[in-house]
């Protein structure tokens, strides 16, 4: 018989970025599950339905943000594919988009768009049949310039903010996070029990807040 060992209380140690730096981040299994429940609701609200299919582009170091979203995809009864959010691995993103039907692309970043453009892939054509394109950073603006209607996503320090509709401001789950600003920068406070509690944690994101919504400063992404 194989050994059966209880999983550790600690899910993992990752990081979140603040500007050019990063903060080490310990997460418990319990908070990952709570974040996954929240992600399930958000993904459903922006149009993911049972039988859907999602292409997730991320870096492994983003797993603390992305694993709850991944579980959210599965809890919505949808399928998922994964590609690295690097210029090199954009060939994989291009292959998936060419080969299979996707209802959602989740986490499209500058690196992915860079890689696709280096390959000579036309963004409007590649994403034409993807109903919901959740994009972050300058990738959002580049997809919009290509005539697409992306949905804004922000990795906001330890929080994840996703707009509820294309063109709208990114939002955090108000049950999980409170937002404020300090010197023009968004800060986040955790509202639920976490291994690492956050009180007015700087995010490096310039903007103002409107409840749980982030209004990005001009020129900020």
């Amino acid at each position: 018989m194989a050994r059966t060992i209880a999983p550790p209380e600690l899910w993992g140690v990752g990081q979140f970025r603040v500007g050019a730096g990063s903060v080490t981040w310990e997460l418990s299994q319990a908070e990952i599950m709570r974040d996954a429940q929240s992600a399930t609701g958000v993904l459903s609200a922006i149009g993911l339905a049972p039988g859907g299919r999602v292409l997730v582009t991320s870096l492994l170091s983003e797993a603390p943000h992305v694993w709850p979203l991944t579980l959210g995809v599965l809890m919505n009864g949808a399928q998922l594919s994964s590609a690295d959010a690097t210029p090199f691995d954009a060939y994989r993103t291009a292959m998936f988009l060419r080969t299979l039907r996707y209802d959602m692309a989740l986490g499209v970043s500058d690196a992915v768009v860079d890689g696709l453009e280096q390959m000579g892939v036309d963004l409007a054509t590649a994403f034409a049949d993807v109903a919901v394109i959740v994009a972050r950073g300058v990738a959002y603006d580049r997809l919009e310039s290509a005539g697409l209607r992306p949905t804004r996503m922000l990795l906001l320090g330890p929080a994840t903010a996703i707009a509820r509709a294309p063109g709208g401001p990114a939002e955090v789950d108000p049950e999980l996070w409170a937002l404020d600003t300090v010197d023009g920068q968004v800060v986040v406070t955790s509202l639920t029990e976490r291994r690492q509690a956050f009180a007015r944690q700087p995010t490096g994101v310039a903007g103002t807040v409107d409840g749980s919504r982030v209004i990005l400063a001009r020129g900020s992404s």
């Binding site: 194989a2 209880a6 899910w11 993992g12 140690v13 170091s61």
Partner: protein, 452 residues
């Protein structure tokens, strides 16, 4: 710190008992028990795949084989035709089936659709239906042997494209430290390793070792201290060159080799360092004459000899590979290992598709490696064999150099001398900067052959 460091001092004596195995029943099963398991699973798999997979129905019918003909493992070996990645791609393109005709369950039942690495060409889809536990159990056996125990941390600099493999330490009660497999992450990795003192690392690569050497030169980081807590550092993919090996030894890295096993499972070294174990309840592995054209002339090589690995998945009812020619040249044995495990072991030599024959002499990247690394300017071991076809008149190499050598012509001559002395064939050498070659690959390796 002392209790953390003691984790790596697992004494061999204390490990040779039951504590050495994560799943003792299967890991030390007798060969006859494994043979019985193979018979049961293969005879179940053949009709299952024939009924559900258009690829196998077509492929086997063309070979004149029907499941009713397959009543024993010998029938399986003698009748079931081989297949390979090109056959899957050809079916995919001819029939517009993204799964190459191999999917055996309704598409709607899939959890995830991931893909092969694709570094050798276009990636192919890997459809999956996740069960509770995922890929954890098989990996857990390997990492238990490599010293991971409940409460440990495991450093995981990896990729996302094969799915959430990084969660596997949970099965062992251990906690993953999650990083990108990018040399840019190394300063942060070193910092967190010193804070959490992980006992295992999955995975280390050639470019990472190169970047560590550069980090050591440009900062005051003490890499012996960084690697002091590890009982295992799993090195994937390419052969480890002499310089990289010397550095790893100097830093006190307990390196263990790891490789894919025919896209069906994984192979890991155990602490005996005597070959890489495959799990034979996960895959049915054969090692055949590399020139074989079909089951008719596919003589199994003698135990311990070199051949091409052929793999059949025993654990997949979703997307089973059956008699899949891996293109991997391995030495292969079913002799019991000194660790007590009874499952087969292999030693990877290279890819059949990377081999060139120069003047009747076989040359693989592994043969050239040491000769390239022996010179200071090319110590990084970054090179490609230019392989326009398998049989070539001249061995052509593209070799990467560091810095700005004053006389490239002279350097090319020295490399040619070194390769000629080591391989017995004098190459033509084209020199390019290391950075140019590194651009060609993902962060963990570069293609070792190029068409031009």
């Amino acid at each position: 710190m002392s209790d953390q460091n003691s984790a790596r001092e697992i004494s061999r004596e204390s490990d040779l008992g039951d504590d050495r195995f994560f799943d003792p029943d299967i890991e030390t099963a007798s060969r006859s028990a494994l043979a019985a398991l193979h018979e049961e699973k293969l005879l179940e798999l053949v009709p299952y795949a024939y009924e559900r997979s258009p690829f196998y129905r077509k492929h086997w019918s063309e070979a004149g084989v029907h499941p009713r003909d397959i009543l024993t493992v010998d029938d399986f070996r003698e009748r079931i035709p081989f297949m390979d990645k090109d056959a899957i791609r050809a079916f995919r393109d001819a029939h517009g089936d993204p799964y190459g005709g191999l999917l055996c369950i309704p598409e709607s039942e899939l959890t995830a659709i991931n893909s092969t690495s694709g570094t050798t060409g276009d990636p192919t889809l890997v459809p999956e239906r996740w069960a509770a536990g995922g890929s954890g159990p098989a990996l857990a056996r390997d990492f238990w042997e490599l010293g991971v125990r409940p409460g440990d941390h495991v450093a995981i600099p990896m990729f996302t494209f094969r799915g959430p493999i990084y969660n596997f330490p949970h099965v062992l009660g251990a906690v993953p430290l999650i990083f990108d497999h990018s040399p840019a992450e190394l300063p942060r990795i070193c910092e967190l390793v010193r804070r959490y003192r992980p006992t295992s690392w999955y995975t280390m690569s050639g470019p990472f070792l190169l970047a560590l050497a550069e980090l050591e030169q440009s900062t005051d980081v003490d890499l012996r201290d960084v690697f002091s807590s590890f009982s295992s550092i799993v090195f994937a993919g390419e052969p480890l060159g002499v310089r990289a090996k010397a550095n790893a030894e100097r830093w006190g890295m307990p390196l263990f080799h790891h490789s894919a096993a025919g896209d069906v499972g994984a192979a890991f070294e155990c602490r005996e360092h005597d070959g890489l174990h495959v799990w034979e309840d996960v895959g049915f592995y054969e090692c055949i004459e590399p020139d074989a054209t079909g089951p008719g002339d596919a003589t199994p090589v003698a135990d311990g000899a070199v051949g091409e690995l052929v793999a059949t998945s025993l654990g997949s009812d979703v997307f089973p590979l059956i008699r899949y020619r891996s293109d991997d040249l391995d030495r292969f044995t079913r002799q019991r290992c000194a660790c007590g495990r009874t499952h087969a072991r292999l030693w990877t030599l290279g890819r059949k598709g990377d081999e060139v024959i120069v003047d009747g002499r076989s040359v693989l990247p592994v043969d050239v490696w040491g000769a390239v690394e022996a010179l200071d300017e090319t110590a990084a071991g970054l090179f490609q064999i230019i392989r326009t076809q398998r049989q070539v008149d001249v061995l052509r190499l593209r070799v990467g150099y560091a810095g700005a050598p004053s006389d490239l012509g002279a350097l090319a001559g020295l490399i040619a001398d070194s390769v000629e002395a080591g391989v017995g064939v004098r190459p033509q050498v084209e020199l390019v900067a290391n950075a140019e070659l590194l651009k060609l690959g993902p962060p963990h390796k570069i293609p070792r052959v190029a068409k031009r």
